[in-house]
Amino acid sequence: MNDNICAISTPLGVGAISIIRVSGPQSINIVNSIFEGKDLTKVKSHTINYGFISENGKNVDEVLVSVMKAPRTYTKEDIVEINCHGGLSTTNKVLELLLTNGCRLAQGGEFTKRAFLNGRIDLVQAEAVGDLINSTTEEARRLSLSQIEGELSKKIKTLRKKIVELLANIAVNIDYPEYEDAEDVTTNVFKNKLEPIIDEIKSILLTAKDGKIIKDGINVALIGRPNVGKSSILNKLLDEDKAIVSNIEGTTRDTVEGTISLKGIKFNFIDTAGIRKTNNEIEQIGVNKSKKAIQNADIVILVLDYNEKISDDEIKLIESLEKISHFIFINKNDQPKKIDLNNLTDQELVYGNTVEIDGIKMLKDKLIEKFNINKISARDFTYVSNARQISLLKNSLGILNELRTQVLNNVPVDILEIDLKKVFDLLGEITGETYKDELLDELFSNFCLGK
């Protein structure tokens, strides 16, 4: 870990300024070698310096360079941050210069890994930082910040304290069997002490679902026959929310057409089989093609045409949605009505069009209403937002439930204690208080590039 790493640490193509972060023992020297301005090796720590990045005497970009010396930095190593102003291509050029002058490209999450390995942050904090990087919406950012402040850590630590107290009590029973000083943890006592621990883990897990919504966003499938206006609706949604759209090739998952933010919650629109195709090839309504999108969706919006009769295929589609969370958006209500609503008596209907300014407002409102978003925002932020944490909690709960059964089977408490110790260790993994070889690898491969 004595090499120097660099990465663009701001989302590509978003905002006017890109920041490149460099960390490592030679980071200041390396940046200094491509910097025109003050001698960065002589400036004070935690200063911002104006100048140019240049190559062979030619200026590449006008920049502000922050110099932060170890150990009071994020990674506890020397860190230099270059604020580039020239857009994507010049930022890439600056990165390239760094790479040719002794840096290597940071792996995903490597800054955070170094921060962790150098003892700067604990594991929950590291994971929350990862979420911070990934989160593109305000809500998720708040969630990430709240975890850095350690609310989840605090809850888990309190829980571990309860467990360790019980463990200690049992240990005293075992090692000092004749002493009356400690409460004798009988199977009954053990069972009673188990219950609040189980309840606490359950309640932490309950918040996990909301946490997932906040972090990963809600998947929406927009389905309907060709020419019903799906692309126009999507474009209108995306147009109104430009800052959050991440439609640069390769920056989003292939299946996501676009992401919008409503009240701070991400909505990912899933590709429903060529939704953005421009050619007007006539084809059967893609019942089969839509199926896959429907499977991956948290909610389905079926688009119908106000100006057309409902076809048999569309009726089939409606029937196929019977057990799926969905509503119907009746598009083109600025045109004459030809649709027969008798077929849609049990359906939630929302009207609109892509022509008028507020044409799709009802659609947005419906989405907000469906996910109770106003309620989520008001909640406290002890959310569990990471699959690894959730699985550790679930494993703990599984062991605890098993323990409850075993207590009833009269398994001796001193044997049950071994499993309770396991729960203690699992919870410790969430806050990084036990060591597991594979833990770090799994954790840090979850990070996106740069911090």
Binding site: M1, N2, P25, F116, L117, N118, G119, A171, N173, I174, D175, Y176, P177, E178, Y179, E180, D181, N409, N410, V411, P412, V413, D414, I415, I418, D419, K421, G432, T434, Y435, D437, L439, L440
Partner: protein
Amino acid sequence: MYDVIVVGGGHAGCEASYACSKIGKKTLLVTSNIKNIADMPCNPSIGGTAKGIVVREIDALGGIMGKIADKSHFQIKMLNSKKGPAVRSLRAQIDKKIYPKLMLKELQKQANLQIIEAMVEDLIIENGAIKGIIMEDNTKIYAKAVILTTGTYLRSQILIGSKKTPGGPHGEKESKNLSNKLKQYGFEIQRLKTGTPPRIDVSTVNLKDLTIEEGDKEYYTFSFDNSPFYNINEQEKCYLVYTNANTHKIIRENLSKSSMYGGYVEGVGPRYCPSIEDKIVRFSDKERHQLFLEPESKENNEWYLQGFSTSMPYNIQEKMVHSLKGFENAKIIKYAYAIEYDALNPLQLKPSLETKIISNLFTAGQINGTSGYEEAACQGLIAGINACLKLDSKEPLVLKRNEAYIGVLIDDLVTKGTQEPYRLLTSRAEYRLILRNDNADRRLRKYGYQVGLISDSQYKKIVIKEKNIKAAINKLSTSNLKLTKEVIEVFKENNIEIPTFSISMSQLLKRPKIHMDFIKKLIDLDFSDEILDQVSIEIKYEGYIAKTYKEVEKLLNLESKKIPDDIDYDKILNLASEAKQKLKIIKPATIAQATRISGVNPADISVLSIYLKKEYGKNE
């Protein structure tokens, strides 16, 4: 010229000299007083939680403590017998006069072993290797290896109230110079403290006022080779005593007169064995504390008042004792005292118990910072075995944490060090479900056999035992329960639910209320109780045992990641400085050991692993 010299005739020294001579090395045991060989200066018992298992392990390896204890106790108990099999442990009340006599006799019988009385003042060291010892009168005795088992005798001082007297237990002479010499040779010395309660003339105690504590009504032996030498109905009684408000008042009023609270003590005492004044101060809301009155020997009236160790002056001790119910007129035969002594920092030891600084010099027992006869004895045994293996240029015997409490103890010592006298506790053993009292022979006889302490016939016994266990398990898992009229009758008689579908005997045994005794009523099992005991545990707790083995596998995986001796921790740039310091001192042999060092956090392990991978490649 000897092969091995053992310095000190306590419990560590006895095991060490016994093992070395039995293995066939020409051995010399140097003690300051032959009469005090295997002396028990503190509690009159051997065994106890975790410690009892250690005695079984010593026996399994071919040591001697269990064999002598079996012949010299007058009460024995299986502790935790109502709890699970993993935490059961034997404890025997030992006749303090008999045990040392039998031990001396046994040692004197050993071929290859010579015992002399002398004080050792210095060591002969050449080129970083031990060559022998120098006595008080300057005589030199040469040996290829030396084992120091000096107990609490290094620069020891007896503390009673404000009085500090140089000397060891029983008014023995302390060793004045050896610890200074060790310091000169580069060893880090720490000062520890322990204490012992008063001995009471039992004929002056009104025993009717006390609660009787009896021995178990079942026969037990520590040794796997012994049959019981005692009669369960002729066991001595112990008594339960309580302190009271008056006792506490006396102690509180005189606190500043005790060595501890008067500020006369430098050494660090054990938390798990506090003096009575400590208990009163730290648990001030407790209205009473338990004490036990235990006989020390059939040859005298001296009884041990367990739980009442103190460093108060004589007159206060009198008052304290007289405040106890039934002790109004009790006579104190020996007063309680605290003792301070020098010990080596055990981080300077290899897992073989050889010192890192001087090759072929081994240390064992209280000199390594432990407390307890059993802890001392097992180290003596391991040091003895490893001194012999070293002389034969063989790999040392290092028991892993999943193999023995002895392994846990030594690993803790050499990895974590200790700030107080170290006592084994059940909770220190993370794999205790497989480190049981009942299976020590199955775990360790093979090692005893390999090093030459276990005979062919003893070893054959364990091989046959294993075969029988396998056969019994096989029989139970292949025999299905047949619900004949008679069988149904047996179920009804015992008030046990009749299975509604066909199951094997082993499945039946797994059920909560079913025990081996019941199974024996249903099927012919031509196996001894010893075998069926093992089978029953293995079947009943199969799931838990399997889980433990899974954990063990993870440990062994980390244990297999060796750290080369020549590693230069200064070259690992991102190691936290505390971790670097610790790693340089402890020099862990494996990544597993490194993870157990306090102050080495997961991040350091990650850095270390990455470095090993980079520098040595092969480290998986």
